[in-house]
Symmetry: C2
Subunit: 272 residues, 2 copies
């Protein structure tokens, strides 16, 4: 059963070259998502019509081990097998699991998403840690956000480490990367989306503010916070009250708590 496997042995084969580059970047030149591990492929397949698995590269060992998973590939996917040693060379992880996939993602339109009723947009400004970025996408997915936007200068949300931390959410959430602040803020103003900054120094507690309606939540780095040119775009700056002698919360944690408070105020009525 299953797809026909093409055997490739040369490191200079064009598909191997595409995977080598894409595994480092997280994206192919066409903007398709590239990730590693059976779990990544499993999540892509589970996401149904939202994402289309285009190409799969497996090591000889993994081809054997993950046969049931590979049998679920759609007929139009391309499946190639390479020697274990070559897979190890091109993998981005230290202990590669022998499965890599290139997945075409649906093209989301930011304007449509931002104009949707009661939209919740998470805007990451300057975050550098891919693990935090992935955790934000995962929490945004769970807590009902409409999209995650990474402004220019923020870590790439399609970075393989970010994708690993977001556990499949990348196939469900609209994620926009490298957008210019001025473009995003102009769009939000035009659509009358309220812009809320998260700022540990603000005296206004998030729970004292009505967070219903369409909002954009600006999330900065934990130490530096929001850059001045970003925070002045906010209609309001809000904080999570914390114990006086404590340090700040981790950036992803702060974003998750904001999203929880937003969801709580909306009585957990999530959009599908």
């Amino acid at each position: 059963m299953g797809l026909k496997v093409r055997e490739v042995t040369s490191a200079t084969n064009s598909l191997v070259k595409v995977f080598r580059r894409a595994l480092a970047e997280g994206l192919t030149r066409d903007g398709w998502l590239c990730g590693e591990g059976p779990y990544f492929l499993e999540e892509a397949l589970k996401s149904g019509s939202r994402a289309t698995v285009r190409s799969v590269l497996v090591s000889a060992e993994a081809a054997e081990k993950h046969r049931p998973l590979l049998d679920r590939l759609p007929a139009e996917s391309e499946l190639a097998q390479i020697p274990d040693r070559l897979f190890h060379q091109i993998a981005g992880t230290r202990t590669p699991q022998g499965v890599a996939a290139i997945v075409e993602m649906p093209a989301f339109d930011l304007k449509t998403v931002a104009a949707s009723r009661n939209a919740i947009l998470v805007i990451a400004c300057g975050l550098q840690d891919p693990g935090n970025m992935g955790t934000i996408i995962r929490s945004a997915d769970a807590l009902g956000a409409s999209a995650v936007i990474a402004l220019a200068g923020t870590v790439n949300p399609f970075n393989p480490k970010a994708v690993r931390s977001c556990v499949g959410s990348i196939f469900r959430m609209p994620v926009f990367a490298g957008l210019k602040p001025e473009t995003v803020f102009k769009l939000l103003r035009d659509l009358r989306v309220r812009i809320l900054g998260t700022d540990p120094h603000s005296a206004v507690a998030l729970s004292t503010v009505d967070l219903r309606g369409s909002i954009a939540l600006l999330v900065g780095q934990e130490a530096a916070g929001l850059p001045a040119e970003i925070s002045r775009e906010a209609d309001k700056l809000l904080s999570i009250p914390i114990r006086a002698q404590a340090d700040s919360l981790n950036a992803a944690m702060a974003a998750g708590i904001f999203l929880y408070e937003v969801a709580r105020q909306r009585k957990f009525q999530f959009q599908p």
Copy 2:
């Protein structure tokens, strides 16, 4: 001015041996905390009377670079300098920063902490990721918890990776490691502390339950959840409502959101 620096060059020197072992475990045999990096030492010094810096080991390069920090060591600390190459050998990190310290922590008494008014205890059950453990301690500190307890079988909260993720909170929060479930649950029952389990499958949303008074919050692994023998100890099982098609929240994120909801219901009146 500052402390006199003892120069040590031998890998078999007894202090070097103590640091080598303690850097791997996170604790010395006396139960003193051992950590790496100038930030760790900085936080220990900032914590004031709560923690006492006993011994500091520096590489020759770091002794120069971190002079102002080392000048702040109390007179009773021991300060030793070793060659850069030797520091690299004993350090637990891949890019060591040349500073390691052994810090005596205050001895907290679990019974006293649990008996305090409106106590909030976080009980980690089976978590394996040290980064998650550290993030939980950091969030517990920020959001007003009284203590963090790691049950036997849970990752060591003094693990150097956990300590790095908790950013100084380890010097403020009472943290108890490796306790037997039966001992902890007996104590909680005796003190009439309400035991609340976090369970993604529970139909009871955390925000619908009164979370004031003394409580213990059981936090399990994200995939496996709480083991059955732990969750049956809970007076109630509560969930964070999430979007239907989404995956679970990260374990540390779930714990942080629970602690936020607890703090919100208490109107952010933190105990000092």
